[in-house]
Symmetry: C2
Subunit: 339 residues, 2 copies
Amino acid sequence: MSMDITFLGTGSAYPSPTRGASALVLRREGECWLFDCGEGTQTQFMKSHLKAGRVTKIFITHLHGDHFFGLPGLLCTLSLQSSPDANKPPVDIYGPLGLRNFIRRSMELSQFKEFSCLDGDEVSPQGAQGRILQLDPVENSYLLVEDEQLVLKAFRLFHRIPSFGFVVEEKPRTGKLNVQKLKDLGVQPGPLYGKLKDGTAIVLENGVTISPSDVLEDPIPGRKICILGDCSGVVGDAAVKLCCEADVLIHEATLDDTQEEKAREHGHSTPKMASEFAKLCKVKKLVLTHFSQRYKPAAQRGEGDTDIAELKRQAESVLDGQEVTLAEDFMTIEIPMKK
Amino acid sequence: MSMDITFLGTGSAYPSPTRGASALVLRREGECWLFDCGEGTQTQFMKSHLKAGRVTKIFITHLHGDHFFGLPGLLCTLSLQSSPDANKPPVDIYGPLGLRNFIRRSMELSQFKEFSCLDGDEVSPQGAQGRILQLDPVENSYLLVEDEQLVLKAFRLFHRIPSFGFVVEEKPRTGKLNVQKLKDLGVQPGPLYGKLKDGTAIVLENGVTISPSDVLEDPIPGRKICILGDCSGVVGDAAVKLCCEADVLIHEATLDDTQEEKAREHGHSTPKMASEFAKLCKVKKLVLTHFSQRYKPAAQRGEGDTDIAELKRQAESVLDGQEVTLAEDFMTIEIPMKK
């Protein structure tokens, strides 16, 4: 099952022609989940290889304009462009308290009244299907999505306003059948293999019972992706556990290490801070994003700009040589299945 | 005094990579007035030769998202990028009822609480400086701005929701002094010329009084620019009078003439409809904008697209050969002073 991440906006504070405001898409088998939706996200979709019409869920990390001002426009356009189809599920939106009210008012003002399922803040007569999600006090996290194949949880970050990180984790798949063992037990390839793989014990003609656990190898772990909103750290102990050994961690690095004091003052991170969290969580790949617009590739630097390669050097210096990726608009990162 | 118009967004319904959502700038001596502010307008500013920081007034024609969803982001960015300067006047915003509330809520949600002067809807304790502008029942228009040099009025358009057109008209300048006449009267060049030009009568040594009207040529008319929001026509009789003999009329043409029924159904215009209004008003230059994204230059056309040149042909066929301009993003039109 294919899974990839595409960055639609990697700049902080406001969109620019070189870096859009925050937005990224996690795509899994063609279905798109959008994380943050800064102004211009719908146009970034058009410039990318992705289709906004494939978005089924939207997650907003926090309510600073550069992370959600693109939402009303995107929703209007999705509504305009989609033909009425009763079978098409609504787009679910998850975000901090206050978001639902903003979306409703924007849509009403702009004459789009057809929306119903918003998870967010206060319940009103028109939005009875919205839900307020409660913190799981044991795990210190919020369960947002769970289906047969994966779980998505949110956890709290330290920022100037409530800000959240998300961890998307696939459930483990059943391990492979140990064909040699089956042959040794005298089980021939056929429907019985399928039964065992599906978790059902079988009884052979000689009366011997074989349990799946006798012939299945260890379950194959799923992929784990962590996407953090703006932060200068995490709140409580949930994040480190949830992000442990993630395949990909997407972390902000608004300013470089020489600006750490200023970064912390504004609730932001530097490459070093991001790398230290990545190291603590033993993540396999760290991707930095949400760069101040002053960081530019050497060739594009103007007065007052800084070479963005410096952020990569700073991050990698903490991670003992592990490569760190700096996100760019329209960059896609594939996350292969484990075998 | 230089005056020009730059289009920042010329597409209808939603922004695309080739046509931004509605926005245009009227620049006069470096000061920018922004008309409409669709999503992405702040990025369009960055791509243009204009500076968003020079915007002193914003006018919103109507409350469809593609005309105002860029406002919260633009205001946040202006606020972020401007250093506190008590001498810098606030940005005045004019728009239909409901706009102020939307801006206030968006700003509050995104933690920008510093704004005060919004002309719009209901008055609240935090926004006491806002004003509701009343219709002038005689002229059937709204007076929005008047200073020594110009007047800006709004008038009502026919659309699915309240929509407005704006006419910006410079006041006439004093005519030239008729130097020959002055010489004949025995007035020598000097301070007396200035007095007459400023409107003050002078008395010559021989006791003869010369009034300014004796030696001034006719006043020189100012420039007149008309900018209409979405419409399938105008409401009442104000528009034709106000737009009469305008130097430039900017009119929407969302669909081509073959789609007139559909255009009218959605409260929009076709090139023919725009040209007929231009003809009625005897305007000197008609510029069409707000094109459905399906209209593309022949070279860029994909499946289902129509050659945009067709819209120009349709408009010009009504205007007896007068050239019509199709707006494009970043196109600038200079409006020379009259002599």
